[in-house]
Symmetry: C2
Subunit: 347 residues, 2 copies
Amino acid sequence: MARVTMQDVAREAGFSVATVSRVLTGSRRVRPDVVRAVRAAQERLGYRTNQLASALRRQATGTVGMVVPQISNPFFTALVQAVERSLHRSGHGLLLCDGEESPDVEAERVRTLLARQVDGLLIVPYDAEQSAACVREAANEVPVVQLDRVVSGAKSDSVAVDNELGMAEMVRHLAIQGYQQLAFVGSQPTNSTAAERLRAYLAHAGARDENNRHRVLLGDFSTAWGQKAGGDIVAGEMPAAIVCANDLIALGVLDALLGHGLHVPDDIALAGFDDIAFATLIRPTLTSVRQPVDELGAEAVRTLLSRLSRKDGMPRKIRIQPEIVPRQSTGATTSASAEGCSGTSGG
Amino acid sequence: MARVTMQDVAREAGFSVATVSRVLTGSRRVRPDVVRAVRAAQERLGYRTNQLASALRRQATGTVGMVVPQISNPFFTALVQAVERSLHRSGHGLLLCDGEESPDVEAERVRTLLARQVDGLLIVPYDAEQSAACVREAANEVPVVQLDRVVSGAKSDSVAVDNELGMAEMVRHLAIQGYQQLAFVGSQPTNSTAAERLRAYLAHAGARDENNRHRVLLGDFSTAWGQKAGGDIVAGEMPAAIVCANDLIALGVLDALLGHGLHVPDDIALAGFDDIAFATLIRPTLTSVRQPVDELGAEAVRTLLSRLSRKDGMPRKIRIQPEIVPRQSTGATTSASAEGCSGTSGG
DNA sequence: CTCCTGGCGGTAATCGTTTACCAAATCCAA
DNA sequence: TTGGATTTGGTAAACGATTACCGCCAGGAG
């Protein structure tokens, strides 16, 4: 039951711990017959190196920390999944933390991650201002990559989608589909994505129609907010289409619309942002802006790991191009059957 | 930039590292004035203890590993979230791994978790047979709690919902609602939850109607499978209601039904299992068996932590009672507006 | 004044690796 | 045969905390 150490392997093989270590890490040439002997001994004892001790000595844990505002948001879930996969591919572990949508919890999580000596940090900062200090502080200790959202003033790389572009294309798409009067249901711009999407909407929709400036409802990124905003819109003068700042909001709005007996897109069109898996599982299927989650995750990991090897260079801002996915909710597809959805397994 | 160590604090405070350590861990009484001096020095230097070194010495990392078959399944996401919260509340960290629905990947993940010296392991084993060896092996090294699914032959605790009970209540509910002819869309019983739900369905539905034994379609726990099975059912002689082994399957089936122009529950009723968040966001809202995810996670963590302090005692099987949630899809609610959904935040 | 006891700070061993440095062995050319 | 270069294994010092053990000092009893 007592863990078997390198000492044991060394004794068993009849060599020193140094030699065993060299065989295992390949840090220096060892005679082939010795290698065989050591490997055999290792096999016999079922030895696996203690990463803790190794990490302490090498000053690198092979672990990166990740903090997201809330795991249960499907977009973040997908991001976590993509990151986890990329990390494991390069032999790293993931220490995951949920910030519980609170700057305080978030800061505390970052602190414990640093205390656990993570080699680097991936963070989706909750709030553009309240999270800034904690991100800056972290960036002084280890390489940090901001993901999806960005706070200013931190010396760190960032990876996100080009929200401006995505929103612009969405507005254009709606125009092409013939929807003139638009409304926007978004989030208070307390973080970069909310702010960018709002700004882009105003810039592009406002340019076409001065009226649109008035039909902007701001809350948070939740379904609950979508439901409320949807109700408000139905109560007033109806626009031709509603643009939402993310899919969760759109789901809420849709719920409200259907609840009032409205048909989408016949009575009113609807569009979201993120393209979460459920966008194709509801009726009507939801037009959205696809965030290439796998790419985002992979790119973030790649950026972080490259910082780990060579720390030089200026912070880089990486922006990935999103892609609009037209579906039934904006009258783009009439085919009744949805695209496949690969989410397998179950509880 | 160089990390500040306990040495530095000791020097700054004018005491030895032993004293500093004692102040920080509270392992022994230290004179109040000395405590103040040490704390002041710590504050001045911004010292935080290196968990790595501490863990190596104490032989405990304060970290537990968790392996789920696939994070993107909303049920597992919710479970992870609950676990993460409970763990952090007791000062532990979570090393999360996605098994990618493969016994090999799963086994590899377990091995790296053990190499990282996790204090304990929470695992949702992918396959009743193929995952058994790896769970057993892990249970020999650290306390293991199996969550949601169970493999036999491992000396470990387990926490799960009483699937038998949940399915029994669902069948009874459908009977009360007046649905006689049932069909079951489930997963091949390659894991305990699939097996238990199938067995319970057969026991209870079969008891009422010999015919029901024939209307059992088995695939996996995915939406894709639900879509296919739904199509097959529509093509043949239609039952009055379809019982699904989880909500993802139900979503797929629903998709197929709606795609064929059928109305739920007027033409055919539908029920799921798990009660994931989206069950209330689709139309019709989905009748399901609620798994109390927060309780499951909390109980699993509690069980694991108690094993960490006192290793004695036989393995315990903890079964939590699920609760059926009747909604529109079985004609239980006619109210059009859905219940609130709290999933906040967004990408 | 001596001796014992309890409180408390310091010294150094320890957790399990990695690796700088040393030394023995081997090899090759002259 | 010799002397330098090259392998390659061993010794021991880190990494940064925790803690067993030691010893000093103060105070109380005799």
